[in-house]
Homo-oligomer: 140 residues x 4
Amino acid sequence: MRISDDPSTDPADYEFSHQLRVRFAETDAMGIVHHSRYLPMMEEARVAYLRHVGHPYQTIRDEGIEMNVLEAWLRYRRPLVFDDVVDVNVNLAAVERASFQMGYLLTVAGEVRATGITAHGAVTPEGRPTRLPAWLRDVR
Amino acid sequence: MRISDDPSTDPADYEFSHQLRVRFAETDAMGIVHHSRYLPMMEEARVAYLRHVGHPYQTIRDEGIEMNVLEAWLRYRRPLVFDDVVDVNVNLAAVERASFQMGYLLTVAGEVRATGITAHGAVTPEGRPTRLPAWLRDVR
Amino acid sequence: MRISDDPSTDPADYEFSHQLRVRFAETDAMGIVHHSRYLPMMEEARVAYLRHVGHPYQTIRDEGIEMNVLEAWLRYRRPLVFDDVVDVNVNLAAVERASFQMGYLLTVAGEVRATGITAHGAVTPEGRPTRLPAWLRDVR
Amino acid sequence: MRISDDPSTDPADYEFSHQLRVRFAETDAMGIVHHSRYLPMMEEARVAYLRHVGHPYQTIRDEGIEMNVLEAWLRYRRPLVFDDVVDVNVNLAAVERASFQMGYLLTVAGEVRATGITAHGAVTPEGRPTRLPAWLRDVR
């Protein structure tokens, strides 16, 4: 699996959007959100997306499937700062037999802040690769 | 269990010391280490202490005992900043049948920065309280 | 300043409540929320409280006042887990000339999970103690 | 600027190596290190590299240059777990007029765990792009 897409900067290209507010604890001494803190925001939006399509992540976990992260890519276009209200736009970008990619666009009041991609594989709780659930292959 | 001790600000009162360096990711927009980030530093020192007394935390976990945190208390006396080399002094402050307390003193070049206490209980992986390992009751 | 109150476990004793959902990134290998992650949740609720009483934290910062944390105390009564919807109940617990305390009660569906206190001092951006804003002394 | 290199999985291809130990606070409920936690490890190694070449990051900051992160890419090849002793191998992978890339290889006892790239730009404390310090262009 290779990360292949360059995510769109147009929110209209995304199927789902999740809103959150930047915590003070997410900032760093440069006065902006630390670059490592975008991944948990994208994860929160991914979890909200799965809930939205009727498959809460905890349910998937209860059925014996973990979705671990194989790759992640981020482009920081303009810093997020404390108290920003962020729209994390989410897309299911590619689905294969045992893995899928999701694309992200983070905006504040419509202004682009960051784009990202995560690639995921389905694994058993013991960490062995397994097939993706059928609904995920059919969700699009 | 109640947190009862006011930890000493004299490093000589501590049995063990662990050194670490402040990460940039631990700072916040006030330019200092975020107050939530002291707890992982204290945890890192606690884990180093357990290794030092011959009982690495992972070994304890492998034997079916988790040591969850029941209480935590912190006094921030002077901020830590990026790149500070911190001595985390550690003490086993109180040991009872199913719980124990640890005291902490954080210094930079001998100067006091923070004190803290954590109280822990022994639990099974399912989260049920269990007796402390005998060595912990005997360690002092 | 000393932390003095034992926060109530009755949500009715709190003036304000802020709801959030536990992120997967906040869990640890014990399968529960890491004990250091409660402080950012309490901070998020504190920031929401300040917004609620008409004084957003960023506005306070823009007026040249930082509210640093002097002490923090937490009692973990029952673990939070991934995806829990948490009500963080907040109280302004004590106000003095240059410092104040806040009390917290974290519940999930009405069930008590944790209580906490934070003590704060007003400081200038250079870190010098300064008087609390008048509105904060009058807010109760 | 585009992230272009695929970092080598051979430690011999790296100019510098920094060792750290995985904290319990860095794990998640899958029992492995959370994917967002690799970036602070890479940052810690980057800071150690800059110190190693005689230009501590705080000195660079004191001279009015921040090195913000423009892009980040990570490939998670095999999970890190609690207490792993990680060698973070670092390379200065590309240097241009106002930006540079660094490559990373994370190994545990010689075994590959992850690779990554970060791309950085030099900015003033106000966030305006500025030229890279001369020493950085000459360091290789």
